[in-house]
Amino acid sequence: MLNDSGGIIDDLIVYFMNEDWYRVILNAGTHDKDMSWITSQLKEFSDITLTERPDLAMLAIQGPEAIDVFTSLLPGTAAEKVSSLAVFQACDLGELFVGRTGYTGEDGVEVILTAEAAVELWRKLMAADVRPIGLGARDTLRLEAGMALYGLDMDESTSPLVSGLGWTIAWQPEERDFIGRKALQSEKQNGLQQRMVGLLLAGKGVLRSHQQVQFADGGKGEVTSGSFSPTLARSIALARVPATVSTGDACDVDIRGRQVAAVVVKYPFVRNGKAVIEIEHV
């Protein structure tokens, strides 16, 4: 969801359920500004109603066995519907709304249900040996999967084009006049100055937000979010760098005053628990 200048208000998900019903899943951290933006845009559309559902909760069940375990708790027909969902598809099962998505780079579902039903499902999942994870673990997973984090990797001052999110823009049909289109078009026409890349740290330490990145040709960039990848046993990051930078380029990152060598890599770093970048040459 963009503002007029093409900056990102939120990286929310919109499910098309039918011609009369769309379901929006927004970030809890951007709830207030999202609601006020949507409400103000709706003034021009008298036939659209926005209904907030504070009675609903969401549980994300993620991992290689997520679909099997979750569907084992459902009646037969519902289980079949969930198993046959494509990635990013959702189905409405009455009490449950199930989307095959997540923020971990693993297979899985996000389940939307009443708060009461959420407690019940949580207990069933625990009984089925599913384990809760904390925010730290979730953050390493989303970063390994190369998924941008709102507020760090993107915000209202950065467009999707310089945030590695160009793939989310539906440019077609040509006359599709979404908010921010003009700004994005002129940003493209003027030539993008920056782009998002992955960094793999060669030396010791941990890449973190706001560390400065220096290239041999004098170009400078900044780590937008970083952490330690348990799967790669290396530190990894997303960084916004000059558009001229290419995969394989070497750089130095300023980690609390030390210049530590890193290399530009294509992300995602990890998919379904397996490394998808080469780390031998680092």
């Binding site: 730290g136 390493t140 330490g205 330690f228 348990p230 609390r256």
Partner: protein, 129 residues
């Protein structure tokens, strides 16, 4: 409940101090601190021979979650650092009071040791976290 050995001294910032008979002290971070920080991935240690004042930031322990400063508990000169931590930062998680020690200081003023907390005082600090 985390482990708080009786024979050690402690600081409010979660360092432990083992005083030797030779005027040297060994310093590390407490079991409680390592538990809060989680899996260690990088440890930055002070330079040998550097002179530290009590309260100086002198090391960094970095876990998957965050980087945290470690402070010199007393004034002194660094005489040894635990080189093993460079390749095995997890020693701090596994054995915070033993193999996970961080550095050793030759102390300037032994009286400073009296200003550190004993185990029971540190347990109170811990319970307030």
């Amino acid at each position: 409940m985390s482990n708080v050995p009786q024979e050690l001294k402690y600081t409010r910032s979660h360092e432990w101090v083992l005083a030797g008979d030779d005027g040297q002290v060994t310093v590390g971070i407490t079991d409680h601190a390592q538990e809060l920080l989680g899996d260690m991935v990088f440890i930055e240690l002070p330079e040998i021979d550097s002179e530290l004042n009590a309260g100086d930031e002198c090391s960094v322990v970095e876990s998957v979650k965050a980087a945290s400063d470690v402070y010199a508990p007393v004034t002194g000169t660094v005489v040894a650092v635990n080189e093993k931590l460079a390749d095995a930062p997890e020693l701090i998680n596994e054995d915070p009071y033993g193999d996970g020690w961080m550095f050793r200081l030759q102390i300037s003023d032994p009286a400073q040791l009296d200003s550190l907390m004993d185990a029971s005082a540190y347990e109170v600090i811990e319970s307030e976290d």
